[in-house]
């Protein structure tokens, strides 16, 4: 184990959230089942009363877990000097490749679920009769399971990364000519793929933002649920595709230019050489997630009582998404111009 402020914090948060979310998840599942079987208002009130502590715990722990994603990478970055051959986070990820890989995959899923649950909870709080209580508790139990798994992986990873491990770093993987991020686009569009990727990146983002603005204006309480879900789903799909395009463009075209290393394609190196790129990425993640959160809310939270608040929430989420994507785009453009 490598002792740094970040690794200790990571382990502490991991242990606390594993225990609390383990308990909260099981308890939420029990309450969700009770809520389903409750037929009278008294029974529902009893479930509601018993859920206060679980929900409060969940809000606090999940709120902290939202910050855990950047903290996780901060911890990995703090290990770089202690791993022989590591020049960036990529080198650290090579120490426990499988464990880190699973953990890195779980992080965005966990982040997305936590955000969605917190919004669902917030929306439910705005109602008089908590019509989303059952779904909220069920969603919480599922989210808690993911968070427990993520916390466990964090702890294991922090404990297992040994100082002095010899690894090779990103150059031997991200910069080879046979890298998939180069081969696929080149095979698809030919040798001018870099120019096309850059163009499609801007086109994709701008189109998505226009669609979101249009959707923002169309979301009304009276619009048909089927059509709105279809629209939300399509937007979410567009956002996911846009995210894939974003990653591909960053790896192949923009990150090397922003770093000033035209042949180096490592995003972890970008974060350490140009730290404000983290903010740019965070904005993009938030912008993309917000579209998904709007879709999830519309999917789970549509009731008669929430209809008005839901529309306002969705409009706010779409607006937030447009802002985040625009901000990310502006930052990226400024970086490219300054490069």
């Amino acid at each position: 184990m490598i002792l740094t402020v970040f690794s200790i914090t990571e382990i502490f948060i991991g242990v606390v959230s594993m225990i609390l979310m383990g308990w909260a998840g099981v308890f939420a599942l029990m309450l969700a089942l009770r809520w389903r079987s409750a037929s009278t208002a008294e029974q529902r009130l009893e479930v509601e009363n018993r859920s206060h502590l679980v929900l409060l715990t969940a809000v606090v722990v999940l709120g902290i877990r939202l910050l855990n994603w950047p903290l996780f990478y901060a911890a990995l970055q703090s290990f770089v000097p202690d791993i022989d051959g590591a020049m960036c986070i990529f080198g650290v990820t090579q120490v426990k490749r499988l464990l880190t890989g699973v953990s890195e995959l779980l992080k965005p899923i966990s982040f997305f679920l936590i955000g969605a649950w917190l919004l669902l909870h917030l929306l439910d709080q705005k109602t008089q009769t908590s019509p989303l209580m059952g779904k909220k508790l069920l969603f919480l139990s599922f989210t808690a399971a993911v968070v427990v798994a993520e916390s466990l992986l964090d702890i294991l990873l922090m404990l297992q990364i040994a100082p002095g491990t010899l690894v090779s770093c990103c150059t031997t993987v991200t910069d080879i000519l046979e890298r998939p991020t180069r081969l696929f686009p080149q095979a698809a569009v030919g040798p001018r793929y870099e120019f096309l990727l850059g163009t499609v990146y801007y086109g994709g983002n701008i189109v998505l933002m226009i669609l979101l603005v249009v959707a923002m204006r169309r979301v009304k309480a009276v619009s048909s649920p089927g059509g709105r879900r279809l629209l939300g789903g399509a937007l979410f799909l567009c956002a996911v595709l846009n995210a894939a395009l974003f990653v591909l463009t960053q790896v192949e075209v923009h990150a090397p230019r922003i770093m000033g290393l035209p042949f180096h394609h490592c995003l972890y190196c970008l974060w350490q050489y140009v730290p404000d790129a983290i903010l740019m990425y965070l904005l993009f993640v938030l912008g993309t997630s917000a579209v998904g959160w709007a879709f999830i809310l519309d999917f789970f939270a549509r009731t008669g009582e929430t209809a008005g608040a839901l529309s306002a929430f969705m409009r706010a989420l779409y607006g937030f998404s447009v802002f985040c994507l625009a901000a990310s785009l502006v930052m990226n453009t400024v970086h490219l111009l300054a490069a």
């Binding site: 020049m87 290393l261 404000d276 802002f323 625009a326 930052m331």
Partner: protein, 460 residues
């Protein structure tokens, strides 16, 4: 509709984020930064991937536009070279044994099980001496490989090299030439110079007369004779001159024989003098300056200074006329210098074919400029190049590894009053008229302004 206040807030936020990005782009820890037009590399970071550079594995690239880039390993440099085939004039690598930087085309490469830069898993090692490369290969399960930068190095069109062949004696005088190849200063000045070594002055003169070389490094008396020979030559630069602390030529008494005792010796004083014009000149000059009677001296002609030194050591002669490095060895042994040139103005010089001077004026100018850069590097960092002196400066093994680097002469040519005594001596011998015009012997127009000469990139 978005309210004006909110729109203002959004605009301000976006502007703030743009400013953050701008500051981040300017102040970020990028390994390569764009300055005023030129790309500036952050010291200690690889130009390919930003890895911290370990000086012993550093690879340097000199580009056709005059820029230099440094890489953490041969791996990174070769990867970068794949994308920039037409930009590189030369690569330098570090010899893993001596830690000295050398032209990659002179190095021997080994791929072995030993990782030099773990970040990039580099297993290619560079050595200057082939035996060391083979030893490493044997020890670490490796094999000799071709130059990873390519055996047929393709130069950019703008950087075609002019070829020159120069003869140089196996003496410390040749070190500026050797360094300019080793580092490679000549390549930086678009020159492909080949040094043809020779042991004896006569051998060098033959090379020059047969036009096998453009010029040679030799001592001033021989150079003056060459200047009026057929074909004629010109002295274009001084190379190595004696200084108040280190003589170039000295008459040394055998061990145990002091200055006074040598002068008061009865009978013949046997003096070993190597067989060539320059040694004859110095022998005559020193015998005259010591005011030795002509019937009190017996000159023993020997093949070379090494033989003269050997005879001195064995006591076969009473004195020997020596040249550096033997003069330095004699001084180190605290032997008596009967006469030496520490206060005399003579030196070794570079002499070239007069007919080629006009033909290749621009090339010769660059050649002299490169030599000046080499001299500057040698005089500024003598210890850094001591192993080069040991290996290629004709230093006998007995002289030890701490043989000091000579101080080489900067942009200069022999002055008229400096050559006058030699001309008189040559005149007496009927070899050259003492009225020969200075311009027919020395050509000073290729000497650069010393203030314009800076260290070559590869020596910084």
């Amino acid at each position: 509709m978005v309210s004006k206040k909110r729109l203002l807030l959004i605009t301000v936020s976006l502007l703030v984020l743009a400013l953050v990005a701008l500051l981040g782009g300017i102040m970020g820890k990028k390994p390569l930064k764009k300055g005023t037009g030129e790309i500036e590399q952050v010291p200690g970071r690889c130009a390919y991937d930003g890895t911290r550079i370990n000086p012993i594995y550093r690879v340097g690239a000199y580009l056709s536009d005059g820029q230099t880039l440094n890489f953490c390993s041969i791996y990174c440099a070769t990867r970068w070279h794949e994308h920039n085939k037409d930009r590189v004039i030369y690569f330098t690598v570090i010899d893993e044994i001596s830690g000295e930087r050398l032209d990659s085309s002179l190095a021997h490469f080994v791929e072995s099980g030993v990782v030099t830069v773990p970040e990039v898993n580099n297993r290619i090692h560079a050595f200057f001496v082939k035996e060391e490369a083979l030893k490493h290969a044997r020890q670490f399960n490796g094999k000799l490989i071709e130059n990873p930068f390519g055996t047929a190095f393709v130069l950019p069109k703008v950087a075609r090299f002019d070829k020159l062949e120069i003869g140089a004696p196996v003496l410390p005088d040749s070190i500026p030439l050797r360094l300019a190849i080793f580092r490679p200063i000549f390549k930086e000045n678009r020159l492909d110079v080949q040094v043809i070594p020779f042991q004896e002055e006569g051998e060098g003169v033959r090379l020059l007369s047969d036009r096998k070389v453009l010029g040679i490094v030799c001592d001033l008396p021989a150079a003056l004779v060459l200047a009026k020979a057929d074909p004629p030559m010109r002295i274009i630069k001084n190379v190595l001159r004696a200084n108040p602390y280190r003589p170039l030529f000295a008459m040394v008494a055998r061990a145990g024989l002091g200055y006074e005792n040598f002068l008061r010796m009865e009978g013949l004083r046997r003096i070993a003098v190597p067989k060539n014009l320059t040694f004859q000149f110095y022998a005559d000059y020193y015998i005259k300056s010591l005011e030795l009677p002509s019937d009190g001296v017996a000159i023993v002609k020997v093949e070379n200074p090494a033989r003269a030194w050997e005879m001195l050591q064995t006591g076969s002669v009473d004195a020997s006329l020596l040249r550096t490095p033997y003069t330095d060895m004699a001084m180190a042994k605290e032997m008596t210098l009967l006469a030496d040139d520490r206060n005399l103005p003579w030196m070794s010089v570079l002499v070239v074919h007069a007919s080629l001077i006009d033909e290749k004026a621009e090339v010769i100018k660059r050649f002299i400029f490169s030599l000046e850069q080499s001299v500057l590097a040698l005089n500024l960092k003598p210890d850094e190049f001591r192993s080069l002196l040991q290996e290629q400066g004709g230093i006998p093994k007995k002289a030890g590894k701490r043989f000091p680097m000579p101080i080489f002469e900067g942009a200069n040519c022999p002055a008229p009053d400096e050559i006058e005594p030699i001309l008189s001596w040559l005149n007496e011998r009927g070899l050259l008229s003492k009225h020969t015009p200075y311009e027919e012997l020395v050509d000073t127009r290729f000497l650069p302004n010393p203030e314009d000469v800076g260290l070559a990139f590869c020596c910084r």
